[in-house]
């Protein structure tokens, strides 16, 4: 039942997208076959799809955790930039350390930097009551500009025309799937971060629904006055929730720096932080939903490339239309809820009478 509304929203979006394809003059069935087929093709399709899903799982989780606490974290984008830079910095500066120490250290840097960047708007809200939406958005600008500044003036290899830092030490590299699985091409950047993302989903689930801290966080999100009555410090929960959310967003830096480019590359994020909001929305702020929603968005992104190349008229813009339409339909859930609930009731009554 919980799955029904998101599924209907996705289906409706595909129908609307299909109409667009028809209007442009291509065959919608063929286009969708190409889109989904190519995204799931072994090994490149699958490999890239899972690689693209990884950051979206992290940001989707980040937004979900904040949302469960009744907070809107629009700042995942800034948090992941700060975290990615901190990861690269750690991988460069402590490059002499052995991998067994350096990799965990870089991961701590990613999570820590993201958590601090998330906790700041949390603190501002807890202390002064300023709204987290405004502050997280503002922190995004600061994060992007700060990372650019340090890259440009302090950590760029002299003479390098590209806005990127020096490479991190090879001791900090995360293994790619190709290294662990013979026959899987090593050029595909799918790496251990994907496993980390799945583990993070499990950890978030356990945290939210099995621990006292998760209970307090959800209680605050559900009814802050009742949480206060139950002896829960609402202020502390706000800071904590934003820090956890920021830390999860920061894990994007692990995938990007340790698993993929092995350096900080300016402007690397393909709006992962903002797409994370849509992923959380579609995934119903549940870790399992987040995985499914992240996979869907990754399929659309990956599948958009061959659609662009192999259809007569359709460009990858149609994929963006699809993404936007899905979000619209999910957001306008009430639009389906009434007719669907009525239909279900009608069916039930029909069954009773028949």
């Amino acid at each position: 039942m919980k799955l029904l509304f998101p599924l209907v929203a996705v289906a409706a979006a595909f129908v609307v997208g299909g109409v667009f394809v028809l209007l442009i003059g291509d065959d919608p069935i063929e286009t969708y076959r190409l889109l989904i087929g190519s995204a799931l093709w072994w090994p490149d399709g699958i490999g890239y799809t899972l690689f693209l899903a990884t950051p979206l799982i992290f940001t989707g989780l980040a937004v979900s955790v904040a949302f469960r606490a009744g907070l809107l974290n629009i700042g995942a984008e800034g948090q992941l930039y700060v975290a990615a830079f901190a990861t690269a910095w750690t991988g460069i500066v402590f490059g002499h350390l052995p991998a067994a120490v350096l990799v965990p250290l870089c991961c701590v840097a990613a999570v820590g930097a993201g958590a601090i960047w998330g906790a700041i708007p949390g603190l501002l809200k807890a202390r002064f009551g300023s709204h987290e939406v405004i502050n997280t958005i503002m922190m995004n600008f600061i994060a992007v500009a700060l990372a650019s500044y340090f890259t440009q003036y302090h950590y760029r290899v002299p003479g390098d025309a590209i806005m990127q830092t020096a490479p991190i030490s090879a001791n900090a590299y995360l293994p790619r799937l190709g290294q662990a699985m013979p026959g899987f091409p090593e050029r595909i950047p799918l790496n251990a971060s994907f496993v980390l993302a799945l583990l993070a989903c499990g950890a978030v689930y356990v945290f939210l629904w099995r621990t006292k801290w998760g209970y307090e966080l959800r209680a605050m999100g559900s009814n802050p006055t009742a949480a206060e009555y139950g002896g829960i410090s609402v202020r502390r929960q706000i800071v904590l929730a934003m820090a956890i959310s920021g830390g999860l967003a920061g894990m994007v830096g692990i995938n990007e720096v340790l698993g993929y480019r092995h350096r900080y590359y300016d402007g690397f994020s393909d709006n992962y932080g903002f797409t994370g909001i849509a992923v959380a929305l579609l995934g119903r702020n549940h870790p399992v939903g987040v995985i499914l929603a992240a996979l869907l968005f990754a399929i659309l992104t990956r599948g958009g490339i061959p659609v662009d190349a192999f259809t007569q008229h359709v460009t990858k813009d149609i994929v963006q239309i699809l993404q936007a339409t899905i979000i619209l339909f999910v957001a306008a859930e009430a639009f389906f809820r009434t007719p669907l609930t009525r239909l279900r009731e009608g069916l039930r009554r029909g069954r009773l009478n028949g």
Partner: protein, 508 residues
């Protein structure tokens, strides 16, 4: 005057009215009683055209009529006053009354003629309402009379009143009933929906009792008693009086000294007088006694309870609160709960429950972080379930399904759940506000018995209630609060409701 014949109304799968028959004779006051959800309001909304019935007939003056919208009912002389007033605060009485029934031409609203007519209606029914007064400046009782005037202005011969006394003080209720009797003498017919049995006996000529969407009885008021009506409403015998032994007070548990709560943060040594919601209150509560606080709502009761529970910003508080000889200053809500202070808040939706959470999750609110519910970091689901099942069973919460969201329970069952949770703390001080608000008669009896039983186990109980009957029958000592001050203490065993009512309103 009005007859409902075989009216059936269904909402989704719920049968709100099941072939009900109600007959109201002209020139009488007819009470319709029943518990929450019995279908009283639905039946009357059908009669007023808010809902259309799935089947059945409405007869006015013996003729079958189609009433599909309130407009039809008004044209036939039926008026309705809702529990929540439908008035525009910033407009005058006359403007409110003519709203929707304006006379004159579309370009010239003849308010003077309307005001004159309102004045004569007001005199005729001794309502003493000034047509030119602004609604926001009127007391609740006066606003209710404006609602009556609205119906009379539209020539209503039958007035349907939905829980009209819920918002009134005891004195206002008396005045209101005098007005109703006057209207009856002038030939009006009145239907009053209520669940307060004393009022039914005081005002009505005949009573229709509803339960679970059906009419279960119709009696003449003079031939019945509160006990019989309660039995019809609930379907079993109900003990209306609280049975309790004489209290055996022990040591002082709670001592409140000169406690004030300001509306904002205090500046320097104190805050200005006008900003005090609670103003220099002192009293104590001993172990094994129930101390009641009577008062019209909004006179500082909530601040009093929340200040003791640790839910008010300490910067807003002056004065001292000690529990078992130790000051509570500097302790947050959690620490106070750990000391043995339980709290049943007045507003279960806002304060007391997590409506989207399951009963399991609600039962552990406040103890979720400590053994036996949580040892270390992980919540022990088995222990939680054991606790929930135990509370649901002992406090008769229905349906007893621990995985339901709290929202799915009726008000009475939500209240029992919350009371069970707080009793489970084995408190030595219980702060309880409006324990039976919106709760059915059967559950009220149950809650009252539980509170007395807790007292008898030696717990100190501080009880706040807007229901005068409730504080009078439960309390061993009774304080009356007015404008944030203790206006007096009375002995609930001998005091008269009228005298307490006088204290509640500051002597006017």
């Amino acid at each position: 005057m009005l007859e409902l014949r075989n009216i059936t109304k269904r909402f989704g799968g719920v049968l709100a009215n099941d072939h009900i028959n109600i007959t109201v004779e002209p020139g009488t006051i007819h009470a319709i009683v029943g518990e929450n959800g019995a279908g009283k309001s639905t039946a009357m909304r059908v009669a007023y055209g808010f809902y259309s019935a799935d089947s059945g007939e409405i007869l006015i003056d013996g003729q079958a009529r189609a009433i599909n919208r309130p407009h039809d009912a008004i044209a036939l002389g039926v008026g309705m006053v809702h529990q929540h007033f439908m008035l525009v605060d910033t407009m005058s009485v006359a403007e409110n009354i003519v709203l929707g029934a304006e006379s004159g031409t579309p370009f010239a609203l003849d308010l003077d003629a309307a005001a004159a007519r309102i004045r004569s209606l007001s005199d005729e029914f001794t309502l003493s309402v000034d047509p030119h007064a602004l609604v926001e400046q009127l007391s609740v009782g006066q606003q209710q009379r404006v609602e009556l005037l609205k119906a009379l202005y539209r020539n209503a011969r039958l007035l349907i009143l939905d829980e009209p006394t819920a918002v009134l003080t005891p004195r206002e209720v008396d005045e209101f009933f005098a007005i109703l009797r006057g209207m009856r003498a002038q030939g009006k017919t009145i239907i009053i929906i209520t669940h307060k049995l004393a009022e039914v006996l005081a005002i009505s000529d005949a009573v229709t009792v509803m339960r679970d969407g059906k009419v279960v009885g119709r009696v003449n008021t003079q031939d019945t008693s509160a006990a019989e009506l309660a039995r019809l409403m609930v379907g079993r015998d109900v003990l209306l009086r609280v049975e309790k032994a004489v209290a055996k007070p022990g040591a002082v548990a709670l001592k409140v000294t000169n406690l004030s709560v300001g509306s904002g943060v205090k500046v320097g040594s104190g805050f200005s007088r006008t900003s005090r919601i609670l103003d220099g209150v002192s009293f104590d509560v001993r172990a094994g006694e129930i101390v009641g606080i009577a008062g019209v709502e909004g006179n500082g009761q909530r601040e009093l309870i929340e200040a003791i529970a640790g839910l008010v910003d300490p910067a807003r508080i002056s004065g001292d609160v000690t529990f078992e000889g130790q000051s509570l200053a500097g302790l947050d809500a959690r620490a106070r709960r750990e000391r043995g202070i339980a709290h049943i808040p007045e507003d279960r939706h806002r304060r007391g429950l997590l409506l989207e959470f399951t009963l399991d999750e609600n039962v552990i609110l406040g103890v979720h972080y400590r053994p036996p519910v949580t040892s270390g970091v992980f919540i022990d689901d088995k222990e939680v379930r054991r606790r929930t099942v135990d509370i649901l069973q002992r406090f008769d919460v229905r349906p007893p399904d621990p995985e339901l969201p709290a929202r799915a329970l009726s008000g009475g069952n939500q209240q029992k759940l919350m009371i069970g949770r707080e009793f489970e703390l084995r408190p030595r001080l219980l702060l309880v506000a409006q324990p039976t608000r919106g709760v059915d008669i059967g559950a009220i009896e149950f809650i009252h018995r539980k509170l007395v039983a807790l007292r008898d186990e030696g717990c100190a109980v501080l009880l706040v209630s807007a229901e005068l009957d409730e504080v009078m029958s439960l309390s061993d000592r009774l304080l009356v609060i007015h404008k944030g001050r203790i206006a007096g203490e009375v002995d609930p065993a001998v005091a008269k409701a009228g005298d307490i009512g006088l204290l509640m309103t500051g002597g006017h």
